[in-house]
Amino acid sequence: MSAFAPGAIDGARSTPRTLARRLVPLQIGVALQGFMLWVPVEKLFQTQIGFNAASIGIMAALYAAVVPLLEVPSGILADRWSRNGILVVASAALAASSLLGGLSTGVVTYVIAAMILGVYFAMNSGTVDSVVYDAVLEETGTSEVYEKWIGRVRMVEAAAFASSALIGGVLAGATSPRVTYYVTVPFALVSIVAFLRFDEPQLHRAAEPVALRQHVATTFTAMTRIPQVRQVMLLAALTALLAQAVFEFGPLWLVSLHAPAAAFGPYWAALVATLGVGGYLTSKLRLQRRGAVLLLAGLLAATPILLATSNSVIAVVAAQTALQLLVAIIGIHAGLLLHDAVPSTIRAGVSSGVGTLSWMLFLPFSLGFGWLINAHGVHWAAWVLVGVVGLLVVLVAASTRRRAGTPEPTGAEPDLDDPVAGTTQPAVSTDVACRDLVALVTDYVDGVLPTDWRTRLDQHLDECDGCSTYLQQIRTTVEMLAYLNAAPQRPAAHTDVDR
């Protein structure tokens, strides 16, 4: 197995040309989808057609309720039907929503457009991640380069967001905000062509059904019974809530200060850029150090106070950008804490639990926050942000104290996490389990496993009937495959292999 060869990590981490080529249409599609010119001037347009902060809050709440409801059926549809198909439906929904939004002259049609955008989001969420994951697995046999490629796809998406924000702001200034909606439609439609040209991975169709109920039960237990997990989950959900609040309501500060349309572009580009910059900074800052975390928390607490008191457009933009950046950094930190607090097998469930929790928190929050801005103005509402940020700071401080008091939990558990990938060297001190055997069985059967590992696998096989059966069946499979060549009376199966 690769794990034993020197340079194995590099070997598993290099990207074959087939994979790079295969992912090109997907990246083009994602870029075209991300080219939404109306996004930076949306709040401006909404106020022009009769929205106030309260109705914006209601719209956001409706949206927060609809998306999670649609996510489950879209996931099932993607598994049963086609994920390219799902991405095409998402693009069509985006085009329809932009068109209807642009045609809107009142609140009701615009809210309907927002619901259609909810379809786009529910369809898209997680689908791109999963096709990238499966494409990587199909071309390399490991998930090692997944992080790299999903990072690249996200970078393309972020670049599309940022450039469309700048262009959208200029376009709205030169013409009108309404035009930005119409111009977005062709980009969304062309993305359909790109997705149809993507060679969709077929792996998910072969996936075995998991014992879903049992999995949900384990996840739920971890989420509710372990106080440490509860606390970190709340931290992660609060960061998501804050980020969402700034994106949804932040532009209202600029609207209330009568900022020109062209200012919305750079403003929005700066907000979106924090997503990428935050990730980069987190990798540079050593957030394990308590001092660094507390410094960030202090800075974080200062930003909403500026939002509550300042009347300068530049100060407001700077404060929101700083807030968004700090939230992104702390959010990533929270993700890592969650990673440490939860066993690997149920991490996926817990993280999607965090997603649901943040939607659930956002729903009443957006109603209340919208009403507050409407009734008392943005400065007054900013004190609510001060409160939320304060709670966040307390949670961050609590998490560092606990972290400082306990020995580093990392390192012990992930050793045997993914022996298949060939990156994590299995810990020598740990006994071989069945899950490791199925990963090492190829090298065992082919006789290329190092002696000490061979001995340990033999020891395990002596005691485990299940693994002995499995080994025998892999041997039978390999023998039958070899015999397929020896009797080529039906060569059809061979000739189409290279297609």
Binding site: M1, A8, A12, T18, E42, A60, D79, L117, F121, N124, Y133, D134, T140, G141, T142, P201, Q202, A207, E208, T218, T239, A243, Q244, F247, E248, V272, L275, G279, S283, I332, G335, L338, H339, P343, T345, A348, S351, S352, V354, G355, S358, D418, V420, G422, A433, C434, R435, V441, G466, C467, Y470, Q472, Q473, I474, T476, T477, M480, L481, L484, A487
Partner: protein
């Protein structure tokens, strides 16, 4: 209407820094090994990482068994093209790892990993035929 962006943030957040395995949060990301995770006990079960249920033993089967061969061919054609290419060259044509990896433009490690997954997938397919009552 920008709730989705907030959600994108949440996802970015959960994706975490480098090396975070939370990246695979999506409901689709179940395959971390060559055999589905669900077939092994979880960390809260009595024997984590061991079989939840042993694989069903197969009856003795000859390599000349027509039904099994046909089934295997079918299974082979259902594999992703790169996997099929590896199995075809390595296990069917009997060529070396280095040869196969070089020809397909992948690394030796990737070729071995693909082989592990492909063989496991083919075994699963044969198990549907040979295991009693479609048992795995």
């Amino acid at each position: 209407m920008k709730g989705w962006l907030g959600r994108a943030v949440a996802n970015t957040v959960l994706r975490g820094g480098q090396g975070s395995r939370i990246a695979r949060w999506s409901r689709w990301f179940r395959r971390t090994g060559p055999v589905a995770d669900g077939r092994f006990q979880g960390s809260t079960d009595p024997y984590p990482r061991h079989w939840r249920q042993f694989p069903q033993p197969w009856p003795k089967v000859s390599t000349k068994d027509a039904a099994a061969r046909e089934h295997l061919r079918q299974a082979l054609s259902g594999l992703p093209p790169t996997w099929r290419a590896v199995v075809d060259r390595h296990d069917i044509a009997g060529r070396s790892d280095t040869d196969v990896a070089g020809e397909l433009g992948i690394t030796h490690e990737q070729e071995r990993n693909i082989l592990t997954r492909a063989r496991a997938a083919l075994r699963d397919q044969l198990a549907e035929l040979l295991g009693r009552g479609g048992g795995r």
